[in-house]
Symmetry: C2
Subunit: 359 residues, 2 copies
């Protein structure tokens, strides 16, 4: 087991990364109060819920559960409210702990609920997908979607602890494993060309679910994100680099309707568009662009999206949170492995990059 600390002053917390982790021993120091609400979904609960209930009850805690339907399309205010209903029906008060057992959707909703319930209670994350292990388990961004935009409503809420157990990835569908690899590739593309070379060496083994290599990929991804987040918790600057591919990707997800494409799939194609625009701007070479597309393809991810009318694509992009004073900012690659956030791009080239990567 490896331990990574996210350095956020008095909100510093550990991420435990390994296989067959012992939740009773690892969670004990981090559960506050006597009441624990475990929030999960209908896919994950049958597989892992009882294991965590047993571990927490063995610590002498009262456990209640809230099981939500599985999918990004349920990441809305109505389903958020079901967590509040469960907390109040169980009689939970301010001195409780809320544990998210599931992927990014469960983590985002549960974290946001824990930030709002009684104006803030304790939060623990057990991410069960590769995507949530490398992305949403670090950084404290939580929230829900709105029909007019993704993650429009939320809070910054740091967990007490994160348990990333590779054993749980065995039950993950291959498509979801690939979606997680999209974010892994993102860290390489935005800031670590040496990690890109490592991924090029191991991609087929990662896709096949090699637990040791996956743990290493999770550790390196989380370490990368943790360093950025520690420098810029509230996303005033550097943290925005983590959105490489996301402004394009959010437009794809929004147009298709949440849940059609997985988040990681949309980000994958979004990164191709960002790389394509970086190439058209003269910043990265044709070879760099091809290398980007190839590692994404080898991760079993899409490099083109369905045909989307350009005006609608641009309208969805304009809802992005990186819009500042009405000016769209994009994360692009100044060189391979070195991303920048910039409003200095050619809009016509951007439109070309979008259109060039549609089916």
């Amino acid at each position: 087991m490896q331990t990574l600390h996210v350095e956020l002053g008095d909100r510093r917390y550990p991420i435990f990364i390994g296989s067959e982790l012992d939740p009773q021993a690892l969670l004990e120091p981090y559960i506050h109060g006597k009441q624990v609400m475990v929030v999960s979904n209908t896919t994950v609960a049958p597989l892992y819920l009882q294991h965590y209930i047993n571990a927490i009850e063995a610590l002498g805690k009262k456990v209640a559960t809230c099981i939500l339907p599985d999918g990004e399309k349920y990441k809305d205010i109505q389903h958020l409210n079901l967590i509040f209903d469960a907390l109040l029906e169980a009689g939970f008060n301010r001195d409780c702990t809320v544990l998210a057992l599931g992927g990014g959707v469960i983590g985002d909703m549960t974290g946001f609920a824990s930030a709002c319930f009684q104006r803030g209670v304790y939060f623990i994350q057990v991410p069960t997908t590769l995507l949530s292990q490398v992305d949403s388990s670090v950084g404290g961004k939580t929230g829900i979607n709105h029909p007019l935009g993704k993650n429009m409503i939320g809070a910054f809420q740091q967990p007490q602890v994160v348990l990333a157990d590779m054993a749980q990835l065995k039950t993950l569908p291959p498509r979801e494993l690939s979606a997680g690899l999209a974010e892994v590739i993102k860290y390489a593309l935005l800031g670590d060309v040496e990690f890109l070379t490592w991924l090029e060496m191991h991609m087929e083994a990662l896709v096949a679910g090699d637990a040791t290599l996956l743990a290493e990929a999770v550790y390196r991804s989380c370490a990368h994100k943790a360093r950025i987040v520690a420098n810029d918790e509230k996303e005033q600057g550097e943290r925005a680099l983590l959105n490489l591919g996301h402004t394009f990707g959010h437009a794809i997800e929004s147009y298709l309707g949440y849940g059609e494409w997985l988040h990681g799939e949309a980000v994958a194609t979004g990164m191709v568009m960002a790389a394509d625009l970086s190439h058209r701007m003269g910043w990265i070479s044709t070879e760099d662009l091809e290398r980007t597309k190839k590692i994404i393809l080898r991760a079993q991810l899409p490099i083109v999206c369905p045909k989307i009318p350009l005006e609608e694509f641009l309208a969805y992009m304009s809802h992005d949170k990186k819009v500042l004073n009405g000016q769209l900012r994009l994360v692009l690659m100044k060189s391979l492995g070195q991303a920048i956030i910039t409003k200095e791009f050619d809009v016509e080239l951007m439109k070309q990059a979008i259109l060039a990567n549609q089916a």
Copy 2:
């Protein structure tokens, strides 16, 4: 005009207290970005909305509005969502300011919406009721109700600035002015017996709406609250004293259904119950209890609530946020003008104090 600063480090903010304040001059330094959403209700908007729109537009800002129905019963997740709808339909992004123009309900909902929209945007408060001027404009507590409890979902969100304009109290119904006086009396009872004497000298003039005396009462109340909040922003200790009368009051409000009694009315009777229990505990004299009841009566406030079955009353009290490890804590008076928070009270005497102050 008097200015009071709430000292919260880098979130320090001013409260301007006076009559016929100039919003254009006072708001200018505190509006961030070019987009301002004014949230108000159907009662306040016809009276004051245009005045603020004009002032903000004169500053070169884009103004959008969201008008909610008036009343505590609309302080729920569905109506909160209408603010998010309005923000997104207006195309507002992370760099916007949200202004609450209304009473406590509008302030609580708007503040909470501003805390969650895009994970946090700027917030300005223009409280238009006496209650919101002396209570919800200081301290950053925002939130909404849940069918199982008041203010169960929310956030700590500090405003950039607060404008408390006594001229707006002229249109306030007498019943609401009295409800605001309940919180004014609360500050005297919990920590300032000299202020109680001042209120006893001026209560009829305050009820009649004397603007100079009201401004003084608002200033003294806000100063009192600001001092407590500066010491204890997240309600770990001293701040809980501000809940004098509120645990009983919340039970009354919850049983009757939000909106039947005004919050201040429920707090008034709640303070009588707290004083009564303090008397039964041997901490305050019969004369102190009578003095408490008399100042509340002179403010045109109720000192008894309708008959409520004891078990239901207690069940609603057990949902209070001050419950810690399953143990109810109450704010009581160790002496008149000196409140304490304690779990050391006799439950039988508490039941007697509840029953003794029902109609």
